[in-house]
Symmetry: C3
Subunit: 357 residues, 3 copies
Amino acid sequence: MNKNAITLALLATVVAPAMAQSTVSVSGIADAGLRSVSNSGLASVRSMVSGANATSRLVIRGTEDLGNGNSAGFHLEHGLALTNGTAASSTQFWDRRSTVSLASKTAGELRLGRDFVPSYSNWSRYDPFSHVGAASAGNFVSATPTGPIRSAFGSNGNTTVRANSAFQYLLPGGLGGLEGGLMLTAAGARSAADGQNKVTGLRLGWAGGPMGVSAASTTTENDLTTSGRFTDRALGASYDLGMVRVSAVVRQFKQAGAKQTNQLIGAWIPVGQGEIKASWQRADLAGQVGATVIDANDARQIGLGYVHNLSRRTALYTTYSRITNSGASVRVVPGGTSGMAAGGTSKGFEAGVRHNF
Amino acid sequence: MNKNAITLALLATVVAPAMAQSTVSVSGIADAGLRSVSNSGLASVRSMVSGANATSRLVIRGTEDLGNGNSAGFHLEHGLALTNGTAASSTQFWDRRSTVSLASKTAGELRLGRDFVPSYSNWSRYDPFSHVGAASAGNFVSATPTGPIRSAFGSNGNTTVRANSAFQYLLPGGLGGLEGGLMLTAAGARSAADGQNKVTGLRLGWAGGPMGVSAASTTTENDLTTSGRFTDRALGASYDLGMVRVSAVVRQFKQAGAKQTNQLIGAWIPVGQGEIKASWQRADLAGQVGATVIDANDARQIGLGYVHNLSRRTALYTTYSRITNSGASVRVVPGGTSGMAAGGTSKGFEAGVRHNF
Amino acid sequence: MNKNAITLALLATVVAPAMAQSTVSVSGIADAGLRSVSNSGLASVRSMVSGANATSRLVIRGTEDLGNGNSAGFHLEHGLALTNGTAASSTQFWDRRSTVSLASKTAGELRLGRDFVPSYSNWSRYDPFSHVGAASAGNFVSATPTGPIRSAFGSNGNTTVRANSAFQYLLPGGLGGLEGGLMLTAAGARSAADGQNKVTGLRLGWAGGPMGVSAASTTTENDLTTSGRFTDRALGASYDLGMVRVSAVVRQFKQAGAKQTNQLIGAWIPVGQGEIKASWQRADLAGQVGATVIDANDARQIGLGYVHNLSRRTALYTTYSRITNSGASVRVVPGGTSGMAAGGTSKGFEAGVRHNF
């Protein structure tokens, strides 16, 4: 008994310094691979890419138990390019998330700071490729082509993925599968450079058994480039059939007379210690920007991938994708030779390793 | 006995990796809130702010026991804006502190690198709002108005808060309440951009029972903008009456013919698990810069706040402040509409959450 | 028995949070000192310097055991200036290394990302001053003078130290002292700014008993500035005589008609708990760049230093170095007054503290 007491006393002494650390965790993802991109009529290009399966990142976060089911927490998340060691954003080091939270198991969470907008979150959960890699949905969510996104933000930071200075309320667990939240940003002092915009967003979903369904709407007012509103709505569902999990999601961006509708059908197929992933996507533009009619500038993308898990934390992966453009559309898999002609086809192939730490 | 030995052996094995880490700690502060600022004659502005109770930051530091009361240590401290994930300084990532130290319990500490200047440290300890938030003393320590600070540094980095390339000696504890130190910077290769200046500083204080008193002087030579000296002196005292702790501090900046004297009276009143904070400040300009007489450009600020501790690490807070300007002075609470007329009044109100991790 | 079981159960609970952290380590180096540089005919300059014994840095890394002698790992390494808290590179935060690895004890390691080029690694191990401080070999590896390095890269990032987007294979241990590896970079999308170049490199060495010998070759194609190849070869050896360890290494840079050959003889002499270090170096230029003949622009450097270990992690150090230039050469110890005349002499002296954490 005494000896055990001594053991415990020693334990307390020895473990103390580590315990003082225990509420702060340092984690992240290191992901790098090789990609080859071939744009029609142009030389194909091979390059090393970072984060083709999951964005390379460093996460520092922690929570504090306040008792009675309440907690406080913070989350700092830095995106980086493993290829050359640069920050993913040249101006926002903690570009992926920077928040402080107060949470209650019964009343939900208040969260302040930079985070994903509801519509983005509502898309990415239904996308087998999660907005990254050769088959990224991000290939169709760009401010480069003339359309509602460019029209609303120009080349300034946009809110199709994240928003700054956001106040969020998130529903607690235990509501019978109901989940979601709302986002408001206090954009009093707007800055074009860092994508400061006034955002109002809402997300509501339900998950039960093999099924999940959810909807989100995000509205942005940005009077730096235009006085109109930018709306971003997403509706999706998924069903797990066991042998395959399937999903469908649609996301619509609108600004003044321009509209872009992205649709995706996705599938995840478990095979042994790996998983096959497939997606079919379409970007449908409609209306006009100023005098430019954009209806014909559509694009389609297929993505096919395989992820082989070496452990719970480390995987090898490979992805193939192909983008087919119509009209003036020149959407491409990133990394190819620039200058593809309108209506061209872009193909990407990549293979890499992703390590969660 | 044997079983305990096994327990300890297991313990040693299991704890080893954590112990290797135990000398480096990752800590910091995540602080965000909402602020409303109303400048006289202009529309009020609401925004989300970072670090209104304490600057949001990430700290990586550690010490090594060298035996015989000696130790080595390092301290890296990065300021950040929780609102948008940017570094507080676009050029100096570890803007708050970057030092290496050798210390002895009896002989004191040698510290090399970037750190607070003595005069700043000697002010902030007597300021209930510690140079941050709506009622920050920083509202009166700015290089924008014509006065000694602008005259000495222009819009280059200044030494009113920190200095680069500093060599410091700090007194050890156990001197009967005496504390302090000196700072010298080796500014051979001066750079305007990062505030490299030649600094000589000294701080000396005494604390005993409920009372503390201290004085500091910091002199900067900056031949990038001017050949004159910039002097920054601070003298303060505090007394803890139990029901309230009160303080008084005066800080004087001088450069050529211009002088600015800041005065503060502060109070901290414990109430239950919280604390009321109050400060009254005055900035008194005198003399002239070139042909411009600055005597009339004074300002006053009152600050009133309440901090409610949810735990030792997490707090809710609220602050009200009001700045009254005279003459050509246009000092404001940060975050309002710009362009207030000379002599106007600026009011700020904020509420937020601060989480130490 | 039961009590021990309880002890272990408690242990498991208590240690768990730390264990979740145990695979990620946060470490680094904090190094600062004072340096005086005297360039012939000019005023001497004293300044504080960071990393004169070892570059100040923050390292976040970890490995995961995949079983059967296999492992996955990552390594993020950020260089910094302790003097003012800036990142060592303004664009590449993780400038020193950013890699993900798969390794096998018998088959070796695959490593993807930014890392040292083989020729650099093959020089630095034979250099007592490891490319840092007043006696740095880096004083002779600069893109400033007209020569093969400038000719190949201009003022863009060069590959004399590291390369981006590199694929490496490294030999495993247990090959009877044989070690080495190869590097290939996939530089499809080349960027001048971050030193993106197409690199092919190889290193092969053997170490046994007191002796080590190794050779490396790195070839860079950079069509941003020139269509020619830049070759960088290094051959070195060291021998530990017990009272002194001696080394000799030669490194040759070639580009079109220009050639630079650096030679070094080094020595490490253990004395008590410290070490004396000495190096003699020569940079020999030959050939021409365009119409400019560079043969006469040679330089020599001697370095003499002492490192006194206060512990395994912390040391005091001092270094003296002198550079003698010939012809148009104006190589200098960093930190002095600029504008030294061609053929001048530059002397540096420094003393500081280095703390590994």
